[in-house]
Amino acid sequence: MNRLTLSRLWKFLRNAVAALCGLVIVIALLPSKARSQLGLDPCCAMMQVGLNTISGLLRNSVAMPLGSIQQSQQQSANFEQQVVFPMAAISQARNMALQFEGQFVQMRQLFQLPVASATLPMPQMLEQSLLSGNPGAMPQITSSYYSLYGAVMPPANAPQPVRNMVDMADAEAQAAMKKAVEIDALANLELQAAEQINQQLQTTAPGTSTILEAETAAWLVRANAYTQSAMAELVRVRSIELANSSGQLKFSASHAATLQTTGSQVLQQGVQ
């Protein structure tokens, strides 16, 4: 019994030793980490050299230029923040727009002060239309004008050339009055637009202020065009006025010649 037990024990030990030997061989043959760490493998040295080269390259070829770029960009950012776009100057410009708003409103209100001065009914009607700044009041200007200044004389009361001249002058005078109403209305719109753009400026950024500047420039071009239109009307009024003076001189000369001829005829008849 003991012998059998010993025999089994011997077999077990023998198998265990064989398995252990096999395992040792396997472990010895495997490229375990422990061996690399011990520097026993020749490829570890090559890897070390390669990694050192890569590390050196990363330091010199990558890290240094990146650091330089970062430094350059930081410098650029500081320059832009402190010199080109300082926050204090931007806020100051916005505050100025806020201060201007009050003054613009005050100016607009000044131009809305009543300036009407006529005392008689008909002049009052015409004046009211002229100062209304309302383009819808044009028909009233025509009726008030004729009520105040009278219509063109009937054919029996004046020669046709005189009637033509009078009609032309009436037309130009009315046109100038209507143009004045239009210009007033346009100026009111321009003042409103200026206030709105100014309000927008209070929250603008340096990058967007140029857009507002362009918008205002467009309005300025428009305003200049309207001013030019008013100037043209002014030139026309004065031209008609000058033409009237010339026309009257011509009529006076003609009348004087007629009177002289008629007088001579009357005197000759009296002598005979």
Partner: protein
């Protein structure tokens, strides 16, 4: 026989042991990457070579170029576009210009153009040159004192009275508008001064905001100028209409006179 049996048994045990040993060896051979290890070293060397050439070539050269470009852009901005010295010099220029001209312009603005010599005209002139919109209510009474009120109904024809009244009205309207305009002109000059002060301390980045503000003020001025032009148009139109109305009256009067002369001549 027993020996033979023992030998057979021993042989079977040896064969069994050899099988186990063989199995262990096969496992070891299969697991051992001997050949692969040889190939891996070559691959690693090749990989190292690729990495180093990539770092030196595409990445290193690109970064080097980026560094140069970044530095060039930075220098261009600081030395060409926004050189600090020039920025300060420009601010100094604005300051010097302001100092040079502001006083002179203030002196010119301050010159009084009042020229009336008599009491009432002096009052009226002083009023309408005062640039105080709060005083426009006093214009009609002073104007009437200087130019007289509209003729009474019994003294002048209704047509003539209307002409007088509208002429007076347009004249006074324009005087009042001129007073308002003078006051807003003062306001605009103050705004221009503020803009100039702002320009003195503005940065290149905030200058566009100041410019936009100046443009808005310019638009305001244009609108006010248009209002003054409208007043002038009203004046000129009234003047033309007045002359025309007189022409109409004269024409009617002349025709009437002609008729009367003819009647007289026809009945001597």
């Amino acid at each position: 026989m027993k020996r033979i049996s023992n030998a057979v048994t021993s042989l079977k045990g040896g064969v069994a042991r050899s099988k186990r040993l063989l199995a262990v060896l096969i496992v070891a051979v299969v697991l051992a990457p001997t050949a692969l290890r040889a190939d891996g070293i070559g691959d690693i060397l090749s990989l190292f070579h690729t990495i180093t050439s990539t770092l030196q070539g595409p990445i290193g050269e690109a970064l080097s170029e980026m560094r140069k470009v970044s530095a060039a852009v930075n220098n261009f901005r600081q030395q060409i576009i926004w050189p600090l010295a020039l920025i300060n010099q420009t601010r100094s220029f604005v300051s010097a210009t302001r100092a040079r001209y502001t006083g002179l312009m203030s002196q010119i603005e301050g010159i009084k153009n009042n020229s009336a010599t008599l009491a009432l005209p002096m009052q009226l002139e002083s009023m309408f040159r005062g640039a105080q919109s709060g005083s426009i209510g006093q214009i009609p009474s002073l104007y009437t004192q200087v130019y007289q009120p509209v003729a009474l109904a019994g003294i002048a024809q209704p047509v003539q009275r209307n002409l007088m009244d509208i002429d007076d009205a347009m004249s006074m309207d324009s005087l009042k508008t001129a007073m308002v305009s003078d006051q807003t002109t003062q306001g605009m000059l103050t705004l221009a001064d503020s803009l100039e002060q702002q320009a003195m301390t503005a940065a290149p980045g905030s200058a566009s905001m100041v410019t936009a503000q100046a443009r808005v003020a310019d638009l305001e001025t244009q609108a006010q100028l248009a209002k003054m032009l409208a007043a002038q148009l009203r004046q000129e139109a009234t003047k033309l209409a007045h002359q025309n109305a007189l022409l109409k009256q004269r024409s009617v009067a002349t025709q009437s006179l002609q008729n009367q002369i003819q009647q007289v001549l026809a009945h001597p």
